[in-house]
């Protein structure tokens, strides 16, 4: 039984991807209509997928609480916060209602911004201990980084305008050589991985080999 579903899924993946690719090159109103529908259907499934995170958290933390595993009180707090947000959002009817806006800016905003900015501190302590010019490559990187930092912060311009000018020159060379090749590499890499998934050679994204 599972085998039929798996082949059906691979067939759906192949047909859908091919339709959307041909639609980009071939002018055909019927094809364009099908491609638009497939596109908008994917948006709807994407909306459902937003809830997957909640489902897996409820299952995992529910098990932690029921089995009293380590840190189970934290799991209770996690689930309570989640339901508080769900209930507030659904009752007020929109994400931009004043009540929802209040709990959002009081809880999500301070936590996310603090955690996301935390790396600034870890990079600072690493700058003192770990960022050594062990090789010529690391030396080139550090020198380039320092000049670009002096371009990024107004203090560089205040000390001597030559510093940000050098930083700007390094930035131009970096942008037009390394970056351009990396973008081409990403384009080629995406095509390679995409083709392997479409023909079914790469199974991991579709839920692994089991």
């Amino acid at each position: 039984m599972a085998g039929i579903w798996r082949t059906a899924a691979s067939a759906v993946l192949f047909v859908v991807a091919l339709t959307m690719l041909v639609d980009f090159a071939w002018e055909d109103p019927a094809l364009q209509g099908v491609a638009t529908d497939l596109n908008n259907w994917a948006v709807v499934i994407g909306a459902f997928a937003l809830g997957l995170g909640a489902y897996s958290l409820i299952v995992r933390h529910g098990r932690i609480i029921s089995k009293k595993q380590t840190m189970w009180p934290y799991s209770i707090v996690l689930l309570l916060t989640m339901f508080a947000f769900i209930v507030t959002g659904l009752i007020t009817g929109s994400v931009t209602s004043s009540e929802y806006g209040w709990i959002y800016s009081t809880i999500i905003q301070p936590l996310s911004s603090t955690l996301y900015g935390m790396n600034a501190f870890f990079i600072a302590s690493a700058s003192y201990r770990a960022f050594k010019a062990r090789s010529w490559e690391a030396l080139v990187l550090l020198v380039a980084a320092i000049f670009i930092m002096l371009k990024n912060a107004p203090i560089g311009y205040a000390i001597n305008p030559i510093l940000p000018a050098i930083g700007g020159k390094i930035w131009d060379v970096a942008g037009s050589t390394g970056m351009r090749a990396i973008l081409i590499g990403i384009g080629i890499g995406t095509l390679a991985l995409g083709l392997r998934v479409i023909i079914g050679q790469e199974k991991t994204p579709l839920g692994g080999a089991d």
Binding site: L21, F24, A25, W26, E27, M118, N119, F122, I123, S125, A126, R129, A130, F131, K132, A133, R134, E137, A138, L141, L142, A145, I182, I184, G185, I188, G189, L191, A192, L193, L195, R196, I199, Q201, T204, P205, G207, G208
Partner: protein, 261 residues
């Protein structure tokens, strides 16, 4: 009929796809298995293991914090596990002590299986200690980093490998590795994490280097075919750029007109 402005896109996508699929097929049927060059990153791994054996201190390894099924980083984690396979075989051969730190629950069984079979194949199954050689820390980024750093200091590791997908916590790990005096080799496709690895570690594999090293180390011929298919398309792009630049210097913008068709 074909939409104007997209002829070039169609031609390039078709040519590149045919090239990639052909060499994928040829390598999978072992008709032509391309030779991948020995990457300096691989030489750095061998050197780091040798150093750890000499100093009689353990080796720590992390295959990344991304789950095996995360669509964005599945390829990274797979490469991290392929390199783990090679590292485990080398440590078994040389008798060095290996400690593998795991964050994602889905990767734990796979990593345990890889290391257990590697020790078995090198004839030293007794060196693999359950729950010891491969240790699960926490699915949470910071919980994992704290436990991994604690292990590095306790065991006073001589070599540390960071492959697969790492994020902000990698800074804390790489710094601790430097303070412990371990030789560190890292690899990542996350371009925002790479600069810090490059200055904090002894050698760093940049982006696709990780996949090339995995293909070089892995017995599976298909990985080599995939790499070679992409090599050819990159060479074509390089040739187009050279021709395009020379033509525009001569005042003929033929290539960019073709590419805009």
């Amino acid at each position: 009929m074909l939409i104007a402005g997209r002829y070039a896109w169609t031609a390039i996508t078709l040519i590149f796809s045919i090239l990639m699929l052909t060499f994928l097929y040829l390598s999978s049927k072992r008709i032509y298995v391309p030779q991948i060059r020995e990457h300096p990153g691989v030489r750095a791994i061998v050197e780091a293991i040798g150093r750890a054996v000499e100093m009689g201190r353990p080796i720590s390894y992390s295959p990344g914090i991304a789950s095996i099924y995360s669509t964005k980083y599945a390829a990274d984690t797979a490469a991290g596990l392929t390199i783990l396979n090679y590292t485990a075989r080398e440590t078994a051969k040389t008798g060095a002590k290996l400690i593998v730190g795991i964050a994602p629950p889905t990767v734990l069984p796979i990593a345990e299986d890889i290391v257990r079979t590697a020790y078995l194949m090198e004839g030293r199954p007794e060196d693999y200690i359950e729950e010891e050689t491969v240790q699960f820390y926490s699915p949470n980024q910071w919980g994992f980093a704290t436990s991994y750093v604690g292990m590095m200091h306790r065991e006073h590791v001589a070599a540390n490998f960071l492959f697969g997908e790492h994020a902000a916590e990698a800074m804390v790990i790489a710094e601790s590795g430097a303070t412990v005096g371990a030789m560190q080799v890292a690899g990542s496709t996350n371009v925002y994490q790479l600069p810090f690895f490059l200055v904090a570690c002894d050698y760093t594999l940049i982006g696709e280097d990780e996949f090339a090293a995995a293909a070089y180390l892995s017995p599976d011929p298909v990985q080599k075919g995939i790499i070679f298919g992409q090599d050819l398309t990159k060479i074509i792009c390089a040739i187009m750029i050279v021709i395009g630049a020379l033509l525009t210097t001569a005042g003929i913008d033929l290539l960019s007109r073709i590419l805009s068709m």
